[in-house]
């Protein structure tokens, strides 16, 4: 891997080596540019990943959010939380994200849903929703389609094209066939058929066959919340980052926590200031900056980077940096079955239903989503949190219930819409600091009533599916206001009007010509809350345009 000195003015510095940053690094370096990627987390390898629930998933009761190995550490980087700006924000871990080279793609479930055409134009189709930021995207599905295809082929995605009647049009099939169906998928499909719904093989960023020198999935079962030791999960760590490094023009610099995007007297970005692993301040010079730090850390960094020229924070003349935060909205139900499912084996999800993807005015509220069949529990978490509600908590009957149900339980999980509200935001906490002395993130979040009604609708569909599948026992998740999220969207929204958006349709900040923002923060709507595929398609598309602009001299550097 190439190493650059901080004094070398590289073409691009990329902040964050996750879903988007890894793609941008590969695309720009293979296009011939010099790229330094600063990742606040460590550079872990496949050999660092273990099947160890106690170590990789903290099941203890505080703090709740984020493991310390692959994700953010709330003791070092706390956030505060409040429902509305009338409330006092108190420390409460509510934001989780990948914090290692590869970011969230290292530990994600690898559900890989494209957005549908409707997601980009839903405001026009549905009409306005009062007191929300419900809006169309400045791009359409057709604009993004080539990049969805590119993402699937470049990263390695398994699936069956057109298996779902609701699938948006695609220019190419998936590069790999779907993973083998599990018992949960068979039951789900059987139930869907009974109900007249359409279950189809899940698209997963996990290799069903060897691909590009990487191993196929061994069905070990440790996908969600674990790193894949076979490199069969198509994280950016396993797929595109090695390609970027091989160009000899890209340096991945881990343990580098960016504390400020620096600007010159003309208001152009000229590099970033960061803390290295020894907490020494460094300054990396660059001709342009691409921020891929996720939907929560990106706005925080922009707000921290305020200056005389940018008194509201960098790229924030609209005042919308951090606003329109959209959290993960979910619903679902668990059920138990007569015979063993052995769901602990293989990938978490093998079947998905999109029959209720679109909003339907007859339901009386805005909202849609998708359902998948899964089992995302490991033994300790199952025993503590996912037993049937009528099971005793200890003793002979507890043990019997544990024994009977661990291998006979499945989870119908719905991923649903979250409306963008200006009042939901990431801002800087006025008092609390992180371990580096930077202002902590303050999260303000209250779900729109339609989001909650939609969740209840999907919980009921999940129960209906379990009933049709022949579940012995079934119980729904409580439908409650979102309190934590690992999907972080909307906080630097994309748009054509600099007054109502932060970046343009090519992810260039309206206010700073050589600053680009590419991650979940660009989202205008939440889609159906499976964002990674779209984050990566956007990253491919943005990289294409950034490279073109750079080649034609369209990115004016500070020099």
């Amino acid at each position: 891997m190439k190493h650059f000195t901080t004094g070398t003015q590289v073409d691009f510095v990329v902040v964050g080596a996750g879903a988007a940053g890894g793609v941008v690094a590969k695309e720009l370096s293979t296009a011939g540019f010099q790229v330094v990627v600063l990742e606040q987390g460590p550079y872990l390898r496949e050999s660092d990943f273990r099947h160890d629930e106690l170590r990789f998933r903290d099941i203890y009761d505080k703090p709740y959010l984020g493991q310390e190995i692959l994700t953010n550490n709330h003791e070092l980087q706390p956030n505060t939380f409040r429902r509305t700006d009338m409330d006092i924000a108190r420390p409460l871990p509510v934001v989780g994200y990948g914090r290692c080279v590869g970011g969230g793609t290292v530990h994600f479930t690898a559900n890989y849903w494209r957005f549908h055409e409707i997601d980009f134009i839903e405001r026009s189709r549905w009409g306005p929703i009062e007191d929300t930021g419900f809006a169309d995207w400045p791009i359409t599905y057709a604009d993004l389609e080539p990049y969805y295809t590119k993402a699937e082929w470049d990263l390695g995605v398994s699936g069956l094209a057109s298996a779902s009647p609701f699938d948006p049009p695609r220019s190419k099939p998936y590069p790999l066939p779907p993973l083998p169906v599990k018992s949960s998928g068979v039951l789900f499909e059987r139930a869907a058929r009974k109900l007249g719904w359409h279950a189809y093989p899940a698209a997963l960023a996990i290799l069903s066959q060897p691909y590009q020198g990487r191993s196929a999935c061994m069905h070990c079962g440790f996908c969600e919340w674990f790193g894949c030791e076979f490199a069969a999960k198509s994280s950016t760590l396993a797929s595109v980052i090695p390609v970027a490094e091989k160009t000899g023009r890209c340096e991945i610099r881990p343990n580098s926590y960016v504390r400020r995007i620096s600007t010159d007297k003309h208001g152009r970005a000229d590099g970033v200031i960061y803390f290295d692993g020894e907490r020494r301040e460094q300054f990396q010079k660059a001709k342009a900056v691409v921020v891929c730090a996720n939907g929560a850390e990106t706005p925080r960094l922009l707000l921290i980077s305020k200056s005389n020229l940018f008194p509201q924070g960098l790229a924030n003349s609209s005042g919308l940096v951090g606003k329109y935060l959209m959290f993960e909205a979910t619903a679902g139900a668990l059920g138990t079955f007569e015979h063993p499912l052995n769901e602990y084996k293989s990938v978490q999800v093998t079947r998905v239903i999109h029959d209720f993807y679109d909003s339907d005015p007859q339901r009386g509220f805005y909202g849609g989503g998708g359902l998948d069949a899964r089992f995302d529990y490991y033994p300790i978490g199952y025993a503590l949190y996912a037993m049937p509600p009528d099971a005793p908590r200890w003793g002979a009957d507890f043990k019997r219930a544990l024994k009977e149900n661990f291998n006979r339980t499945l989870n119908v999980f719905a991923h649903t819409t979250a409306l963008a509200l200006e009042s939901n935001s990431i801002s800087l906490d006025p008092d609390l600091k992180d371990a580096w002395g930077l202002p902590a993130m303050r999260v303000t979040y209250k779900s729109h009533p339609d989001d909650l009604q939609n969740m209840a609708f999907f919980r009921d569909r999940a129960l209906e599916l379990l009933e049709a599948a022949g579940a012995i026992k079934k119980w729904g998740f409580p439908v409650e206001d979102a309190t934590a999220s690992v999907h972080l969207m909307g906080t630097c929204r994309m748009g054509n009007d600099p007054k109502s958006s932060v970046v343009d349709q090519y992810h260039r900040a309206h206010d700073v010509p050589n600053l680009f923002i590419v991650d979940g923060s660009s989202f205008v709507t939440s889609g159906r809350n499976q964002p990674t595929c779209t984050i990566q398609a956007l990253a491919y598309r943005a990289s294409d345009h950034i490279a073109r602009m750079a080649r034609s001299g369209g990115i004016r550097s500070s020099l």
Binding site: I59, Q67, E328, I380, R393, G395, F398, A484
Partner: protein
Amino acid sequence: MNPGEFSRRRFLIGSLSTLGGAWLAARWPMIAATQEHIHGAFESGQAPAFQFFSPEQAVEIEAMAAQIIPADDAPGAREARVIYSIDRALTTFEHDKQPLYRQGLTQLQGKTRGLFSGRDKFSELTSEQQVQLLTAIEKSEFFELVRLHTIVGFLSNPEYGGNHDRIGWKVIGFEDAGAYEPPFGYYDREINKDDGR
């Protein structure tokens, strides 16, 4: 936070698996040390000495664990040597829970005397009496903690000192083989029997 939110958060842990903890961050080196210690001790063919508990205290806690996950036709917490994982946890990554155990052991003795006059030790009560006593204290912080540690010790990787011989995993039907071939379960055996696709 209202109780509803709390239960939602609880649910999230298991369902979204959103959640985890910085808690472990500072403690990871100690956990690694635990693994090494336990592993070394059993390798050399002898049970490790207790680091936190006196032998008498260990008997009491083990008796509690053995009621939380009792042996039936299959082994339980005692057979899985959960007591060793609790002992090591209390001298390493659960160090700050020591006072709760000390107070809890005193309360346990008090409750034993209170409910069964002339009896001094929980471990020497009949099984029915033990269940009666634990039912009386099942809402206490101490019981909750022992329950948590028992479940964790029963189901975590054996190198943490419990789940001896993978007893806990065998009981629930989990194995960590590292690789599997379809069919995986009862309902996919037909569809997966031919080509595994």
